[in-house]
C-alpha cells in the first residue's frame, strides 16, 4: 500500500496541533503524506494533489470559517481534472448548529466525509482504508483502536 494523502489547514487558520498529530498517524499507518501545513489556500491543495498524485485530500479547519474557505473548492479540483477522495474535519460551523446539519452542508459541497473536532486519527484512517479498499491487518486494527 502506498496511497498518497494531501493534508493541510485551509484559509488563514494557524492551528497546527491537529494536523501534526494526523500527519504522524497517517505515516504510521503506511500512507504517503504531503503536509501543506497551516494557512493553505485552495490552489495549494489542488497543486499538491496534482503534483503528488494524491489519492485523498484532507482539509482541516478549526477557526469557524471553513464554509467560506471551501467555497468552489470541488469545482477547482474538477477543473484540474482530478478526482481524489476529499475529507474535511474540525470546528466546521459557527455557533451551536447541530453537527448533522453541518455534515449535510459539507457533503453537498462535495466532501466525501465530514468529521467533527472530537474525531480521533484512527477514525479518519479507518475511513480512508474503507474508501480505498485497503485491507487492515489484524495487528494494525488492534493498534489503531487501542
Amino acid at each position: 500500500m502506498s496511497a498518497t494523502v494531501i493534508l493541510g489547514v485551509i484559509g488563514s487558520d494557524a492551528h497546527a496541533v491537529g494536523i501534526t498529530i494526523l500527519e504522524q498517524a497517517l505515516s504510521a499507518a503506511g500512507f504517503e503524506v504531503v503536509n501543506l501545513g497551516v494557512q493553505s489556500s485552495q490552489s495549494e491543495f489542488v497543486s499538491a494533489a496534482e503534483a503528488h498524485e494524491g489519492d485523498a485530500v484532507l482539509v482541516s479547519s478549526l477557526y469557524g470559517h471553513a464554509e467560506q474557505d471551501c467555497r468552489g473548492f470541488h469545482e477547482t479540483i474538477e477543473a484540474a481534472d482530478l478526482d481524489p477522495l476529499t475529507y474535511i474535519g474540525g470546528n466546521l460551523s459557527v455557533g451551536q448548529e447541530e453537527f448533522d446539519r453541518t455534515r449535510d452542508r459539507f457533503r453537498e459541497m462535495g466532501f466525501d466525509r465530514v468529521f467533527d473536532s472530537e474525531t480521533k486519527p484512527a477514525e479518519a484512517i479507518a475511513a480512508l482504508k474503507a474508501d480505498m479498499n485497503i485491507a487492515e491487518s489484524e495487528a494494525e486494527r488492534a493498534r489503531l483502536t487501542s
Binding site: 494557524a14 496541533v17 498529530i21 504522524q24 497551516v38 480521533k120 487501542s146
Partner: protein
C-alpha cells in the same frame, strides 16, 4: 545584515516614519509622551507595581473593540475579579497590520453594537483613545496581542500610556503565523524594544514580556525557557530594563515549579545585571474540558502551582475557556478561584521532593540549547537563533511557522511530566536525550504499548477529557 546590536537614534526615527506611512496616525511627540507617562500615578507604573509586589499578581485576558466597552470590561475585572494588573488584547486584523479592515470592524461595532472584531484595535483608537482607557481604570494595563510586526502598535500604545507589551520576534512569530521570516521579525522587534528602551532611558520603564507558552500544547520547559532568554537578551540590547519571562503550565506540579525556578535563575544569569527579571505563569493554555466545573479544576491546579512556585504574575483562565471568549463574569470567576487558592496556600511552607532534581535537568537542557544558539551565531544571539531555527537545533512542537522545523514531538512520562518523544535536530546533549527516552520507555512499559506518536495524540486530548496523562483506554480508564 541582522545583528544583535542597538539601533541608532537615526534608525529609530527612520523606521518610525516608515511605519506611520502604513496607516495615518497622528504625529507622535516623544517628549509629550514621556511627560504624559510622568503624569501617571505610581499605581499605573506597570514595572514598579509588578516588581514591588510581595505576592503573585493576577492578570486576566480581555479585549473588545469599542473603547467604552473595554473600559466597562476592565473595570469589571478590577472590581468583581480584583485583578492586580489588567490586559488589553488586540484584534486579529491589527495583528496582521490590516488597519483598514480593523477600522471597518470598529465602525461596524460602533454602529451595530455587535463585536465584529475579536479585540481592541489600539492603533485605530490612537494615542487619545489609549490614554482614555489608561485613565479610566486604577491598575496598570499591558498590551497583549500576537503581532509579528508590532512596530506601529508599540509606537501608538507606548505614547498612549501603556507600560507593558507582550510578545517577541520568536514567540509572536513561530506559534502564530506561517510565512514570516524570523530574521525579519527580529528586526521588527528590535524597533519595538529600542522604543521601549528610549522611554526607559527617560525614566519611563516599559515592561516587556516574551510570550512563554508558545504553541500552548505540551511545550517542553527547556524550549520555552530558551526562547524567553533569547527574546530577553535581544530586548536588553535595545535598552529594555524590565523583562518578565513567561512559562505556561504543563500540569505536573513538580515540573512546573522546577521550570519556573529555572526560568528565574537562568533569566538572572543570561540577562544583563541592569535588567530586572520577573516571571509570569500562564494557567493551562491547552484544550479545556467542555464543562465549567471541570475547567475550574484545571484552573485550580494552576493556581495551586502558582501558590507554591510564587511567580511574580499569574495569567488566569476562565471556566468558560472551552467555549472561546468568556463573559466578563466568567473571566472574574477565574480570577477569584485563583486568588482563593493562592491566598489559602501561599503562607504555607510547601516543599516538594524532586523539584531541585527536575530544575537541574531543565536548566541543563536550556543551557544545551543556549550554548548551541550562541555558538551558531558566534556569540551573536540574533544570528544564532535564526540559524538554530533554520537547522532545527532550536525547535517548537506544533509550530505552524515555516521558520521552524516543528520536528520535535512531546509526550508525557509516567509521572505526567512533559518529555520529548521525537527530537528532530534539537540541540540537546545525548545524555539529556537519554533521560527523555528512558522516561517515555518507562511509560510505554507501564501502558504495555510502544513509545509512539499515539501517546502524543492521547496526551493532547487528556486534560480536556479529564486526565493529565493520555493513557490507553480513553476517558473511562
Amino acid at each position: 545584515m541582522l545583528r544583535d546590536t542597538r539601533l541608532s537614534g537615526e534608525d529609530l526615527s527612520r523606521i518610525d516614519e516608515k511605519i506611520r506611512a502604513d496607516w495615518s496616525v497622528e504625529e507622535i511627540d516623544f517628549e509629550e509622551a514621556v511627560a504624559y507617562h510622568d503624569s501617571l500615578p505610581r499605581s499605573k507604573q506597570f514595572a514598579r507595581v509588578l516588581e514591588d509586589a510581595d505576592r503573585p499578581l493576577l492578570q486576566p485576558r480581555a479585549g473588545v473593540p469599542r473603547l467604552d466597552d473595554q473600559i466597562t470590561l476592565l473595570r469589571h475585572l478590577e472590581d468583581a475579579g480584583r485583578a492586580d494588573l489588567l490586559p488589553t488584547t488586540i484584534d486579529s486584523y491589527t495583528r496582521d497590520n490590516e488597519y483598514e479592515k480593523a477600522q471597518r470592524g470598529l465602525e461596524e461595532a460602533r454602529e451595530s453594537g455587535d463585536d465584529t472584531l475579536n479585540g481592541f484595535p489600539a492603533v485605530n483608537h490612537g494615542v487619545e483613545g489609549c490614554r482614555k482607557l489608561i485613565e479610566s481604570v486604577d491598575a496598570p494595563i499591558e498590551v497583549r496581542h500576537g503581532t509579528p510586526d508590532a512596530r506601529l502598535l508599540a509606537a501608538v500604545t507606548f505614547a498612549g500610556g501603556f507600560q507593558s507589551f507582550e510578545g517577541g520576534p520568536i514567540s509572536y512569530n513561530i506559534p502564530y503565523t506561517k510565512e514570516h521570516e524570523l530574521a525579519e521579525t527580529i528586526e521588527h522587534w528590535q524597533f519595538v524594544d529600542r522604543l521601549a528602551g528610549a522611554y526607559t532611558e527617560r525614566g519611563v520603564t516599559i515592561n516587556r514580556e516574551p510570550f512563554g507558552p508558545l504553541t500552548g500544547t505540551l511545550v517542553p520547559p527547556s524550549i520555552a525557557i530558551a526562547v524567553g532568554l533569547v527574546e530577553g537578551m535581544l530586548a536588553a540590547t535595545q535598552g529594555v530594563r524590565s523583562v518578565t519571562l513567561g512559562y505556561g503550565q504543563v500540569g505536573n506540579l513538580v515540573q512546573d515549579i522546577a521550570a519556573l525556578r529555572a526560568l528565574r535563575e537562568l533569566g538572572e544569569e543570561y540577562l544583563p545585571d541592569d535588567v530586572t527579571v520577573t516571571t509570569v505563569f500562564h494557567e493551562w493554555m491547552g484544550g479545556f474540558p467542555p464543562d465549567e466545573a471541570r475547567a475550574s479544576g484545571v484552573i485550580a491546579l494552576g493556581a495551586a502551582t502558582a501558590a507554591i512556585a510564587e511567580p511574580d504574575k499569574v495569567i488566569t483562565k476562565s471556566p468558560q475557556e472551552f467555549g472561546g471568549v468568556p463573559t466578563k463574569e466568567a473571566n472574574a470567576e477565574g480570577l477569584r478561584t485563583t486568588r482563593q487558592l493562592i491566598d489559602m496556600m501561599r503562607e504555607q511552607d510547601i516543599t516538594l521532593d524532586g523539584v531541585e532534581r527536575e530544575r537541574e535537568f531543565v536548566e541543563k537542557s536550556a543551557r544545551s540549547l543556549m550554548d548551541t544558539i550562541l555558538e551558531l551565531g558566534d556569540e551573536d544571539v540574533a544570528q544564532g537563533v535564526v540559524e538554530a531555527f533554520e537547522t532545527g537545533k532550536l525547535d517548537v512542537p506544533f509550530a505552524p511557522s515555516d521558520s521552524a522545523e516543528s520536528a520535535v514531538l512531546p509526550a508525557r512520562d509516567d509521572d505526567g511530566r512533559v518529555r520529548i518523544l521525537q527530537f528532530g535536530d534539537l540541540a540537546l546533549d545525548p545524555d539529556l536525550r537519554d533521560v527523555h527516552t528512558d522516561r517515555l520507555d518507562r511509560r510505554a512499559r507501564a501502558e504495555n504499548r510502544d513509545r509512539s506518536f499515539q501517546m502524543v495524540a492521547d496526551d493532547v486530548d487528556a486534560i480536556s477529557e479529564g486526565r493529565l496523562i493520555g493513557r490507553p483506554g480513553g476517558e473511562g480508564a
